[in-house]
Structures are given as structure tokens and as C-alpha cells.
Symmetry: C2
């Protein structure tokens, strides 16, 4: 792996306009961020109880998902308010993610009042920081004597990592370095405490995050120690004897999360849960907590790229391949079990028991963004888009006022209510969570979307995601401007207007689902397409490399396959055998009870039924529907018979109406399914 000039688009240089993401970005700015600020300050009024697994925090009295007490924790740590710490041990990270998201928002649109709020909050953070640089409200308030003694469970470095990301973002947004300096002091303190030297602890975080954050700190400060420390954490993880075993005995087996995971909290979940079962370089499959996996791999790709570490990069490639080839839901969800929100085994993808945490799919975007920086393969962007347009978007309601933590592919509200195994599968989005990691993670991803849209490599601009935007992109030797117009993902045509003269590359992703049908025209003349032997331009690794001398006003038209498609899972996925799902473009579709009646699991789609695409700008903030003629298995004639020999089945015709998966659960509690029977 050769080190070369790579970058993402700058958030401030890309303006998203209209369409699905115009709407979603607007929601995050207008609705989600102000609402979250109210939550952090305990002034929100519409938060309601949640029922996710983290709601075991009921044992700590936090059964309503609020108050957050996050800002209050900082005030108490700063000795400006009386009271005790309240919330999850990683409560600080909620503020960090909000600050990061706001920083991105300020990059694309200045707001003096908002900036003042941030500055005041940063002042508060500064006052909560201890003399030696330590920053963590839980330990400062509750257990100052126990700092860095329970890395396995207590998320100190995780919180620090998130605040570093916020610091870097705010510095980039405003040039103000107060938070950056605060976090440099914390990073320095961690660096003094951890490392290969004999007088330091040979540990690593229980929840990865600081690795990728230290890389960001390195990139903005140029301080090589930060990169070194990130690499140390990556390399140390999984070495034997396990640090978490040593640490566990040292603290006399004290546990923070024993109420959630008896008897010894997260330590009881075993090495795979926190990915220390093996050194990362030896890991072939993602194991354990799916969000942690994504953060770990993101940091590892960064370190591999910056240190030209081909072995580490290969491990990351292997982990990626295992995930997308064996452990990922069609919707880009990951984590097949609510128990510790974990990966399970290859092809074990139950649609009803799935966890599919929103944060995990956001994390998948972090991971794939970094993979694209390291090597420009369309498959990474395909996966990024799969996660973004399906699971990530489903994580938020259409009005931006409620959120999913868990994203199932099959829901029956009665079973969710009555069967405790399915209690994590909510049929409607709660307004907030006791463990509120997902909504702010969504916010910071949406507000930084330009970084995912374009990867720049040398003098080539790779277009990973298609949405309407005006972009200024800084290539290695020049700056270019592009104007992109499309109704994608609701149509397959994407139009690019080139604004800058010069020789450079515009590399268009040809999604794998479109590989059999696509075409590209420049100034009205087709120059490339599926099955054309005379392509003027090279299609490599899923990107069409339009490298040429451009003139302002040049127009590119990309046409992708927009036929609705039947999708089938590998037969090794036992739960999907005999079942079909519908995808159109990048969007996975689902059936909801409100459109199709009760009993979605009794519906069959005939193998030869025509799938019809229907524009519905009026519905669910503007969607496409898919229509088809299917049928539904009728009830037994004898209603009160549970089992019957040699039954003659009867079916009734039903007009099937699919909507995009991300738009489900916006019309009240009802059944939903992605996979249905095929006949």
C-alpha cells in the first residue's frame, strides 16, 4: 500500500440541495440538533420511555431515557452545581457527539448564536477538566481514585475520543482551538499513562473510538505521538495475557455493569465482545459488539493507511469481506442478537431477532469511508450506501422527532409486546433513550455527509454517493467545482455539470446492483455503458474513471438500472430460504400492514408477478412505491384447529404495496417485513 494524496470533500465546500438528503439535512439542523440540546440540558418535554435493552438502566433509576443530566454532570464536575453524577458511564459522549455535529453544521452554515452556545459549553468543559488534563465527569464526580482502572467497562477513552472528534471538528469549523487544547491535554495524559514503555500501563480501551480520534488529532495538530498512540492501541489489543484479565483482578473483580451483564458486567461477556480475543491482525471475522467492531476497524484502516501497514490493511480487508459476504443484513444492518448487541456466526441473520443497531450502521459508514480513502473500490461505497439509505435513515422518523436503536427486518407488534425475546424490536420509534448513542451519531454523520460523498485521490474525484449538491473539491493539484442534480434514490438518472477547466478525473461509482445496465453520456454522447466493448473510459473496481480535459459546461449523464428487482439471500441464510425481498436502485423495500393488511408472513409473491414502480411524491415525504399482484394464505376453515393433516390451502389475491424500508413505522404501530415468501 503506497501512501498517496487522499482526502474527503470538505463539509464547507459541499452544499446539499433538495431531494431526500436536502430534507434529512434540514431535519437534523432544524429539529434534531435543537431537540438534542434540550435533552442534554434536561429541558426537553416530549421524551418518552424506551424499551431497549439498555433500559436495564432501570436498575439505576433511569427508566425513562431522561433526564439526560449530561450538562449537569459537567457543571457538577466543575464544582458549579451540587449533586451527583447521573446517567450512563459514557454520558459525556452524548455532548461530544452533539458538539461534533454542530461543528459540521457550522461548517456548512455559520450561526453566531449557536457558536456562542458552543463556546460557552466549551468553557464549561474546560472548567470540568482536572488540573492534570483528565476529563470525564463520571470518574471526576464518583470515583476519582479509580481512573483508568476499568478500561474494559468504563468508556473513559471512548468519551475522550468523542470529545477529540468534536474538538477537531470545531477547530476546523471555526479556527477556535480551545476545545482542541483541552483535548490535547487529555490525549497527553493518556499518552503518559499508556504505551509500550515499562512504566506505562499496557492497556487499550474496552470500547474502541479513541484510535480513530487520535488519528484526527494527529492530522490536525501534526503531533506524531497521537498517531503512535493510536497504533499502540491497535497493536496491543488481543495480546496475551489479556490486559482486561489483569485489570479485573487488580480491581478485585469490581464491576460497573453487573446489573446489565451479571455477574461481572462487560467483562463477563468474554474477550470476543470487545474484540480482544485475538490481535487485530489475526482476526478473520468480526466478533462481539458490532458498534465496537466498526470503530475498531475504522481506526485500524486509518493507522494502516498512514503507516503504510499492508498487513494491518489486509486484516481490515478480510474483516470487511467477512461482514459483507456473511454477516450483514440486506438493509446494511449488523448484529444478529440483542444479547450484548453482537455479531453471531456466518449466515446467522434472523430477521425477527436482529439487533441491527443504528450506531452500528453509522459505524459501517465510518469504516467504509476510511476504506475508500485507503483504496477506491466501489464495493466499499456500495456498502456505505446500503447502510446509509436503509438502516441509518430508518433510525430516524420522517419528522426527526423519534429514533430507532434497533432496526428489524420483521416486526409483529403483538409478539414484540408479549414475547420478551422480541422486546428489543420496537414497532414505533421512541423519542429518546436511556442509552442515547444512536440519535447523535446519526446527527454527526448526516451533518458531515460531504465527507462520505466524495473521496479525492491524487487528481481524481471519486463520487461515492449520488445526491443533488454543488461541490468544490480540492484535488492534489487543483480545485474543481461540480454541480450535481438528481432525484436519486427515486430515479436512476444523475446529471453532473462540470464547472472547472483542466485535466482531472471524475470517477463515477457504478453500483454492483446496476452492473448489468448502466450508461454514461458526456455532452449527450454515450461514452460508456454496460456490455459495451468500446468504452472510452476504464471501469475499474466499480468506478468509471472519466479522466480527461474538462471544460466548464461539460455535462455528464449517468443512467443507472432502475428496474425493481427481486433479491435473494445466499441459501446458507436459513431464515431467508424460500423468501424474496425487493430492491429498487439502492433502496431496500418493505411491506407494512397499513398498506397490505394483517398477516404479512402469510403473503406470497409469485415468481413471475410484474413489479411496478409508482411515484408517490405525496406519500411519506415523497417516495416510490412498488406494486405487484400477490396472494395471501387464507385461514383454516376450522378456526380453532392448530394443526391439521393434509390441508387444502386456499389463497386470496392481494395487491402488494412496498415502501422504502427507511420510511417504515411512520404511520403508527403495525406489522412490517422485508422478506416475504415466494411461490
Amino acid at each position: 500500500m503506497e501512501k498517496k494524496y487522499t482526502a474527503s470533500a470538505k463539509i464547507s465546500d459541499v452544499s446539499i440541495s433538495g431531494g431526500l438528503f436536502g430534507r434529512v439535512s434540514g431535519l437534523v439542523k432544524e429539529q434534531v440538533l435543537p431537540y438534542q440540546w434540550d435533552i442534554l440540558n434536561d429541558t426537553a418535554t416530549n421524551a418518552v420511555p424506551d424499551h431497549s435493552i439498555e433500559n436495564f438502566s432501570v436498575a439505576e433509576g433511569n427508566d425513562e431515557g431522561y433526564p439526560s443530566h449530561c450538562i449537569a454532570n459537567f457543571r457538577i464536575a466543575a464544582k458549579e452545581q451540587e449533586g451527583d453524577f447521573y446517567g450512563m458511564v459514557f454520558q459525556d459522549s452524548d455532548l461530544a457527539k452533539w458538539l461534533e455535529a454542530v461543528a459540521y453544521r457550522l461548517m456548512s452554515e455559520p450561526d453566531a448564536e449557536l457558536e456562542k452556545t458552543v463556546d460557552e459549553t466549551i468553557d464549561l468543559i474546560g472548567r470540568a477538566q482536572q488540573d492534570d488534563g483528565y476529563l470525564n465527569t463520571y470518574f471526576t464526580i464518583r470515583e476519582p481514585e479509580n481512573r483508568f482502572t476499568n478500561l474494559c467497562e468504563c468508556h473513559e477513552m471512548y468519551c475522550a475520543g468523542h470529545m477529540m472528534e468534536a474538538a477537531v471538528a470545531y477547530y476546523k469549523a471555526t479556527g477556535k482551538d480551545k476545545l482542541l487544547k483541552i483535548m490535547c491535554r487529555m490525549a497527553d495524559l493518556i499518552d503518559q499513562n499508556f504505551g509500550p514503555e515499562e512504566n506505562k500501563r499496557h492497556g487499550y480501551p474496552g470500547h474502541e473510538e479513541i484510535e480513530l480520534a487520535l488519528v484526527k488529532m494527529y492530522e490536525v495538530t501534526g503531533e506524531n505521538r497521537y498517531l503512535k498512540l493510536a497504533k499502540y492501541f491497535i497493536d496491543e489489543r488481543g495480546k496475551k495475557p489479556y490486559y482486561f484479565d489483569i485489570e479485573f483482578e487488580k480491581r478485585n473483580r469490581a464491576s460497573h455493569f453487573s446489573y446489565l451483564y451479571p455477574p461481572y458486567g462487560m467483562y463477563s461477556n468474554g474477550p470476543k465482545y470487545e474484540q480482544y480475543h485475538l490481535p487485530i491482525r489475526e482476526q478473520k471475522t468480526f466478533e462481539g459488539h458490532s458498534v465496537r467492531c466498526m470503530y475498531m476497524a475504522s481506526g485500524a484502516v486509518d493507522v494502516a493507511r498512514l503507516t503504510e501497514d499492508e498487513e494491518l490493511m489486509n486484516a481490515c480487508r478480510g474483516l470487511y469481506e467477512n461482514m459483507v459476504q456473511r454477516r450483514m443484513y440486506l438493509t446494511g444492518g449488523i448484529g444478529s442478537t440483542p444479547k450484548a448487541e453482537m455479531f453471531t456466526s456466518d449466515y446467522d441473520l434472523p430477521n425477527d431477532m436482529v439487533y441491527g443497531e443504528t450506531c452500528a450502521s453509522v459505524g459501517m459508514m465510518f469504516f467504509t469511508k476510511r476504506l475508500l480513502q485507503a483504496e477506491q473500490k466501489g464495493d466499499y461505497a456500495d456498502t456505505m450506501e446500503r447502510a446509509l439509505l436503509n438502516t441509518c435513515l430508518a433510525g430516524m422518523s420522517l419528522d426527526g422527532k423519534s429514533f430507532f436503536y434497533v432496526n428489524p427486518l420483521e416486526v409483529d407488534p403483538v409478539i414484540s409486546r408479549e414475547n420478551p425475546d422480541r422486546a428489543h424490536v420496537l414497532p414505533v420509534r421512541p423519542a429518546w433513550f436511556g442509552c442515547a448513542c444512536c440519535p447523535p451519531n446519526l446527527s454527526r454523520m448526516i451533518t458531515s455527509l460531504p465527507e462520505y460523498m466524495y473521496t479525492i485521490c491524487g487528481n481524481e474525484a471519486y463520487v461515492n454517493l449520488y445526491l443533488s449538491n454543488q461541490a468544490k473539491l480540492t484535488l492534489e493539484n487543483m480545485e474543481i467545482q461540480l454541480d450535481v442534480k438528481t432525484e436519486y434514490p427515486y430515479e436512476g438518472e444523475i446529471s453532473f455539470e462540470v464547472k472547472t477547466e483542466g485535466e482531472y478525473g471524475i470517477c463515477l461509482r457504478i453500483p454492483s446492483w446496476s452492473s448489468r445496465k448502466w450508461s454514461v453520456a458526456i455532452n449527450g454522447k454515450q461514452v460508456a455503458g454496460a456490455g459495451r466493448p468500446d468504452n472510452t473510459y476504464i471501469l475499474k473496481d466499480g468506478f468509471l474513471h472519466l479522466i480527461r480535459t474538462w471544460k466548464p459546461g461539460d455535462h455528464i449523464l449517468l443512467e443507472l438500472d432502475f428496474e425493481p428487482k427481486r433479491i435473494y439471500a445466499n441459501p446458507r441464510v436459513s431464515k431467508d430460504v424460500g423468501r424474496v425481498a425487493i430492491q429498487c436502485g439502492p433502496l431496500v423495500y418493505c411491506l407494512e400492514e397499513v398498506d397490505n393488511g394483517k398477516g404479512l408472513q402469510r403473503i406470497y409473491l409469485p415468481r413471475n408477478a410484474k413489479l411496478e414502480l409508482v411515484r408517490r411524491p405525496d406519500k411519506l415525504e415523497g417516495i416510490n412505491e412498488i406494486h405487484a399482484s400477490g396472494f395471501r394464505l387464507k385461514d383454516f376453515k376450522e378456526e380453532d384447529v392448530l394443526y391439521m393433516a393434509d390441508t387444502q390451502w386456499e389463497y386470496e389475491p392481494v395487491k402488494l404495496v412496498w415502501i422504502p424500508y427507511y420510511a417504515w413505522a411512520n404511520r403508527g404501530e403495525n406489522e412490517m417485513t422485508v422478506w416475504i415468501h415466494e411461490k
Copy 2:
């Protein structure tokens, strides 16, 4: 409901000979009971760790399922040994069930040495009893001050009930009343403490059992107080304010099982878990812990029958109907979730997540036996047989050396190992359990099988179960003898030789699965059969009433439908839509990987494939197999693709071999399924 003469067959009067139950009864006598005695005395050597949910007792250090410490607990309570109590709070019941099973065994076959062991054990129990009659080793050793303060969780009455059942059985077996007197003193103590009077506590047990035991005590002692107390517990349950709420506050929210069910142990599971959400008379559906439900309903039927309480009986009928029409697996398993081993909701019958506890199906036999005493309906016996021949028998290995607690209808060993949601679904039977309720429950049911086989009502003998046996049956006005010969459940012909002259009825169950094809001949002449308008005898409620003047040597031949049948579930059972199971006679069949190769969830049975019955006396201690030509979905050609559009499926032919469900998991760890796809 009119009170009439009803009884079961006496165990001592029925000799089971040969066939499936000759083998199983022999195993219990020769293998299981001696082994369990070793377990109780901590002298067993082959017990291995179990991984069932009760293994959360790991928090109490009991992670290997042994030592049992049960006898030691009694010695310590009797102050004859130093040490602390060890095991589950209901550990005493393991000994009680063993004593009861041994008593039944002694009824059918005296054994002086075994009787001596029992007598010595009863002496020990007597010495462990407190001066006021109290008997419970946990509370005597650990919390003598807290007796009867945590009925919700602590199983004192449950243990007492089991010991009462043992006392009654041993008294009936030997005429010795020492244990009976011990338990009368305990019953009297409970009666002094609980009841409607103002100076008594208005409570009821957290785990039902004592209700049915008190009825047995009443029947053997004639002491009306015991029946009254049983009725009190039945009637008090579910009254508001809930006794368990009051008790909970009184003991300052102290909890015994908080390690298993945080934060407040079984109390946290809510009223439905222990069936006190409503008075029993108002309960329409079985809710909560499935074993508790069966014990509750058994006691309620007893009380209803003896007190001629039609309202209570109606409630029991309704609960039964709800169960068999909406909440029971094809195998007679109940309990759809491992979380608190509970019922969930109508038609929610996941095959992979099922609990299907062996004890619950044994409890279903207790319930249906009592229903048959109250009213002779074949459906109750059908259900009894479904539970017995499928889930109950599956609870024990063919060599009697290992046991299932959980009885799934679908197993993939890899997923059981890697997906914690499925950790309760073991692919092989463990040798013992930390919570060892199931094996001794099986033992006492098998050793008392004659009580299930025949119900006597007036001068009619109802034959509920078909197996080879010689029976002496005490009717209201006479004693008769029958000699039954059959290879059932491996053939459909059952032959009866009448030994006694006189006018009486022999009522043969015509199972519902055979209702379309059966015939009965007396002395070679067909006298009744399916679809015959000229039946000489009345078929009522599933029993053919052969009421006539019998002569010694009269011969009855019953022929039942023995064609293998395709079984389908009500389409409201979403997990079984598009799937088929195979039943032949009363036996549900399953596919195992060892016979059919890997990937059972990819197998299809064509709708028109011929099902062939194949005798296999050489296999699995003698079974029938079912053979058919099916096919298996082939792998994707591209191995590393997880999702694919518009695939052309390929299938390979496969010769399908089903074995009886009860015989699964006797040939090592492998996949198993009851329901497969139909095409």
C-alpha cells in the same frame, strides 16, 4: 358437573410389558433412579456442566449442575453434619420427586433393599423437621427467621407439596405412614398460617404444586381441611391487592433470585409470570411460566371435581382449549420463550427459540390426567399422548443417561454455540442440571404411567394410552382384567384380551388423527369403524364405548390409521407458513443431519411425494422411519455473494429420512428440524 365414581388404574395392578414403554420403564428403574440417588448423595461421577438458563446459578457457584448436596442439606438441617445449604432454594424437591418415583416403582415391584434406603431417608427427613412441623432445609439452615415471608420466590409450599406427593405415594406403596405423618404436620402448620381467617396470612404459593398435593393428602387421609386449604389457594390467587405486592414491601423488597431476574427476582417478572394477574376463574389464557400453569390447572381441576365447582371447571376447560388451539407446539411442548420459560401470545410458536421444557409437558400430562378424571373426552388423552410420546420422551436419551430441559423443534449446533439467544437450545443432552427439576419429574411420571393409561368412571374403563400391558382395573362395582398387546406407537393395531366375565364398558380412545380411518372388531367381527352408519357401539367425545356383557377370552382388535401424514399448522402460526411436518400415528417425526446431510433448512418436500413407512427394529432401539424423495436448494454458484438479484435456483434430489422426534440427538451433535419447506 356431577360427582361420580372416578379413579385411575392402580400402579400395582398394571404390568407394562415390552415395547417402547417396557424399555423406557426399565431404563427409569435400572438406570435413572439409581443414578439420581447417586446425584442426590453427591456420589455420581458422570455429571457434566449444563448450559440451560438456570445455569445462571453460576452466580451461586453451582456452574456444573452438581454436587446436588440435597441429602447433605437434610443432614445439615438435622444438625447431623456441619456445613451450609447449597443448591437452588427448591433443592429439597429433587429428593421428594425421587422418593415419589421410587414409591411408584415399589408398587409395581417390591425391593426390600431399596425400601430400606427409603425408610432411612424418611428417618432423616423426620430429623430435619422442626418441632412445629416446619420442613424446608433452605430456610431451616439459612433463614429460619424468614419462613413464609417470600412466597413469591422461595418455593416453600412447592417443596412441601412435592414431599406430600411422595408421602402419599409411599404410604400407598408400603402402608408405612411415617412420611405421611411428617407431611401432615407440615400441612397442618401451613393450614395454621394460611387461610381466610383474619389471623392468618392471605397468601398463596409462587409456584403452584401444593394445591394438587393437598388434594392427594385429602384423598388418602380424609382430612377435609386439606381440600379446603387447596381450594383456598386456588381461590385466593389473583385477588387484589396482590399478596405478592404486600409481601414484597413487608420484607423491604428483599429478593432471592435477583441474580437471575434483576432487580427483584421473580417478583420483577410481574403478575402473569406466576398467574396471579387475575383470579383463576377469570383467566382465559395460560400466561407466564408454563410449568406453573400446568400445576395450577391440575390443582384447580382436582378442586373443581371434588367440590363440584362448575365455574372453576369451566375456567380450566377454557385454559385447556386456549393452550391446545393456540399455544402448543406440534410436539406437545409449551413455552415459547426461554425468558422465564413462559407462554407468550396466541400463535407465537417459534421453532428455534422455543423453550418447551420437559417439566411443562410432564405437567401437561398431570393436567390432562385430571381433566380425564373430571370428564372423559378423548381430546384430553390425545393431548396427553402428544406430550408423552414426543416432548416427554425426548427429555431423556435412549440410554437414560442424559436429559433435555429444553425441547426445540429446530436446532443448528453452530448457532446454538455462537448466538446467545439460542444458548438454551442444546444440540445434545447434558447429564444433569443445576436446576434438576426435569429428570426426576420424568421418572415419577414414567413409574406411575398406569395412572395415565386408564381412567375408570363408574363401570367403564377408559383406555387413554395404548401399550402392551396386563391390567387389573377396579370399576365401581367389580374388578376386571385386560391383556393388551401391541407394537403401538410403531403399528396401528392394538389387541385386547378380556379376562373377566360381566357387564361393563371398555371405552377405546379413537385419536383425532385417526378419526377418518379406524375400525374395531370383537372376536373377529367388525363392530365399529370410521364412516360406518351401522355402528353397534357409541362413539362419544373421542371414545368408542364398548358396553356389553363380556366373556373371558373375548378379543377386541382396534385398528388405527397408520399412514404417515403431512401436518400443517394454522396459518396464523407465522413461523410454520409454507412448511410441513410429518406425523405417523401419534409420533411426530423429525429430520436429523446424520440421516439427511447438512442444511436441513434448505430441504423441500414436494407436495405429492410419497411417504414410505420403513420398519427399523435395528435402529435407535427400534423405530419406524419415514422415507420420501425431496430436494435441497443448492448453493449460489458465487460462494462469496450474500445477496443476489433474480437468481436461478438449482436443486439437488435428496432421499429424506425422518425418525421419531423423541429419538433425536442420540447420535452426536447435529442439525435437527421438525418443520421443513413444502413445494
